[in-house]
């Protein structure tokens, strides 16, 4: 177990460094510097700017400087928000993004899994059809449409919810629904189909034949195994929430990292794009690592089978 953990940890650190390297060189291969404008900047100013941001150093020196900074979580200055460092943007935006993200994750788990289960147990009954209808709708309508519809009806027409910001508890409802909608529907569909498959297995029939109570058959035997595919979806789910936050934070005007990231993409603010990509990648890799380790602790098959490859 310890070996597995150490192996995964080394692998994760290696991945993060590799991503940082690739992203760094990608960003520096873009023709034109960060201060290239349509109107040429006077040479003097250009020189001072380049000196200030160490852009006149050889690329390899810049690279090692950047990597050194990365180890101390120093991601360099933002090119478009003068006087702000990229890590300051991340620190400023993280609480808002994290709150929405965590709430959305909780929603997905406490609503998605149970409705998937119910739908499977009541297969071909009205409840099942209703759940599947909404779940299908959830994976076919893009999150930005859901978000705009929420704003249009609940914030605009009915006035029940605030249209932007995160100032009151009510204002969390819109972003969280829009952010969790896709994954929630996906989890519900996944739970349903995997539950249906498990219920057809021989060992479930055996359990029933042995006279176990229905509740115990479902809770003890079926549910545990049915949840395995759902757990493997956690990685993609985190990715979906991370990237989903880009549009959700933009539409609801939430001052989170996602919005800063989209702004930096629009402004071609290369250091911010670079820093935030590395941050997102590192965050994602670490989250997936934690999930995998927890998973290995619970299910011994993973440790010696798939995960140890």
């Amino acid at each position: 177990m310890k070996n597995y953990f150490i192996k995964r940890l080394i692998y994760a650190v290696f991945t993060i460094l590799l991503i940082a390297t690739i992203t760094f060189f990608l960003m520096h291969s873009i023709p034109g510097g960060p201060f290239t404008r349509e109107r040429p900047v006077p040479d003097e100013i250009m020189k001072t700017l380049n000196e200030k941001y160490h852009l006149d150093d050889p690329l390899i020196v810049q690279y090692f400087d950047y990597m050194k900074g990365l180890l101390t979580f120093d991601l360099g200055p933002s090119y478009s928000k003068i006087g702000t460092d990229v890590e300051e943007l991340i620190i400023a935006g993280f609480p808002a993004s994290a709150k929405i993200g965590v709430l959305a994750t909780i929603m997905i788990i406490i609503i998605g899994i149970p409705i998937g289960m119910i739908s499977a147990l009541k297969q071909n009954k009205p409840v099942d059809y209703m759940v599947m209808f909404f779940a299908t709708l959830g994976v076919t309508v893009p999150s930005f449409v859901v978000a705009t519809l929420i704003i249009y009806f609940f914030a605009g027409k009915l006035g029940w919810l605030p249209t932007f910001g995160l100032n009151s508890p009510l204002s969390y409802i819109g972003p969280v629904i829009a952010l969790s909608g896709y994954s929630l529907s996906f989890v519900a569909r996944l739970t349903r189909s995997s539950m249906l498959e498990i219920l057809r297995q021989d060992y479930i029939r055996t359990a029933r034949a042995n006279g176990l109570k229905e509740r115990s058959v479902i809770a003890k035997h079926a549910m545990k195994n049915a949840l395995i595919p759902v757990v493997t979806y956690i990685g993609p789910m985190i990715a979906a929430i991370l990237t989903g936050s880009f549009v959700i934070e933009r539409i609801f005007a939430i001052p989170g990292i996602g919005r800063y990231f989209v702004e930096s993409v629009t402004n071609r603010d290369y250091t911010t794009i670079l820093g935030m990509t590395v941050f997102y990648a590192a965050f994602y890799v670490i989250m997936v690592l934690l999930v995998d380790v927890a998973y290995a602790l619970i299910d011994p098959r993973i440790r010696f089978g798939k995960g140890s490859k």
Partner: protein, 396 residues
């Protein structure tokens, strides 16, 4: 046991049952797909969307970039006010009056000379056929509206009206127009074309890279496979949308190709994994051994023996990849990384509609509906194909 309980089976009947035409894999799959109702709905939907994307924009009288300055932000349904016996007026959200026939055909926008705009008293005087049309929308200025239950009145040739006479469909612009006076119907159909081109080409690129990479890794096995799959693992270990955004930023906005390259060069990893898994299972089978014994080259074994046998899962995965490419493309366009104006994809259309959402919700509605229908159609078809191509579900 009583002998009478047993009945002789009619031999003829059995033989008829057992006789069936021999079907190839694809004929069998098609037979099963036809039985899958949702999949057929999906297939019809997909064909319809593709046809609309190809021919739709040719059939309308407008092009996707035609701007008509007079007809901005017109909705698909017009509320008409009758101001004279056969004179009907539509009042737009930004206080323009339009003369419309009773059937809903736009005639023209009424002239509003600058000096006729009384902004302080909120009374505008428009000209229709030389006669003034007076729009008085000062009622909201009155304290408590003084008991009036309407917001404005229209006056023409002495007739005063404030009630909607009837609501008609916009005959010239069935989907309305956008903020530059472009026909939304044409643009939505044109958006289908762009979104589908992006999705299909990106999926094709994914297919080529993914299948080649996966087949090589799976067939070679051993250390080569190990290294190749570690690379895939690393690419797969960060959210793919991030790579796409990076690539889009790096390539700069050079039209349609940027987004196709960005999507195509990232999403192949899933395909590579799938194909590798198939290869690992297939290459141990006897027919590959036989081919190898006969001295067939590696390339030929992969192309002629292995890939055709793995085609089922590959096709299912491609069918699922297309809607997710449409999704990703619209997502990217929505955050401002999509195709550049005046080109339009469903994502850019939705993005453009965002600023005027409260007043002109229809501008978001049609592209969003188009995305949803496409997603549904491809997902239904993909689900059906998965069932139809799965050899485990094969019966008789």
């Amino acid at each position: 046991m009583d002998k009478n309980k047993f009945v002789f089976v009619d031999k003829q009947e059995i033989e008829e049952e057992a006789y069936r035409k021999s079907l190839t894999y694809w004929q069998d799959a098609w037979r099963r797909l036809k039985k899958h109702k949702l999949a057929m709905i999906g297939l019809v939907g997909v064909i319809a969307i593709v046809l609309i994307g190809i021919f739709g924009p040719m059939l309308t009288q407008f092009s996707y970039s035609d701007q008509v300055n007079d007809y901005k932000n017109l909705p698909p349904r017009l509320d008409l006010y009758q101001v004279d016996d056969d004179t009907f007026i539509y009042l737009s959200g930004d206080y323009f009056l339009f003369s419309v026939t009773e059937k809903g055909v736009l005639v023209k926008r009424l002239e509003l000379p600058q000096e006729n705009k009384d902004i302080i008293n909120k009374v505008y005087t428009y000209i229709l056929d030389g006669e003034p049309v007076i729009l008085d929308f000062s009622y909201n200025l009155l304290p408590g509206k003084k008991g009036y239950d309407y917001d404005f009145t229209l006056e023409y040739k002495g007739n005063v009206t404030h009630d909607v006479y009837k609501t008609v469909l916009n005959k010239i612009y069935p989907f309305g127009t956008d903020s530059l006076g472009r026909d939304m119907l044409t643009r939505t159909m044109y958006g289908a074309r762009i979104s589908l081109i992006v999705a299909f080409v990106a999926t094709l690129v994914n297919f080529i890279i993914g299948v080649t990479y996966g087949a090589l890794a799976g067939y070679e096995g051993g250390r080569k496979d190990n290294i190749m799959m570690r690379i895939v693992d690393i690419i797969n270990s960060i959210p793919l949308v991030l790579y796409v955004i990076l690539l889009m930023v790096m390539l700069g906005n050079q039209g349609l190709w940027t987004i196709i390259i960005a999507l195509g060069s990232v999403y192949w990893v899933g395909m590579a994994r799938l194909v590798r898994g198939q290869m690992l299972a297939l290459k141990e089978q006897e027919f590959v051994l036989a081919a190898r014994t006969l001295g067939v080259s590696k390339k030929k074994i992969i192309m002629r023996h292995l890939i055709p046998n793995a085609m089922g899962p590959i096709i299912v995965s491609m069918t699922m990849m297309i809607p997710s490419a449409v999704f990703t493309e619209s997502f990217l366009s929505f955050i401002g990384l999509g195709v550049s104006a005046p080109m339009a994809s469903w994502g850019t259309l939705a993005n453009n509609a965002l600023s005027g959402l409260i007043t002109y919700p229809y501008q978001l509605f049609y592209p969003a509906l188009a995305i949803a229908i496409t997603m549904l159609a491809f997902n239904f078809l993909g689900d059906g194909l998965r069932d139809a191509l799965d050899p485990r579900l094969r019966k008789g």
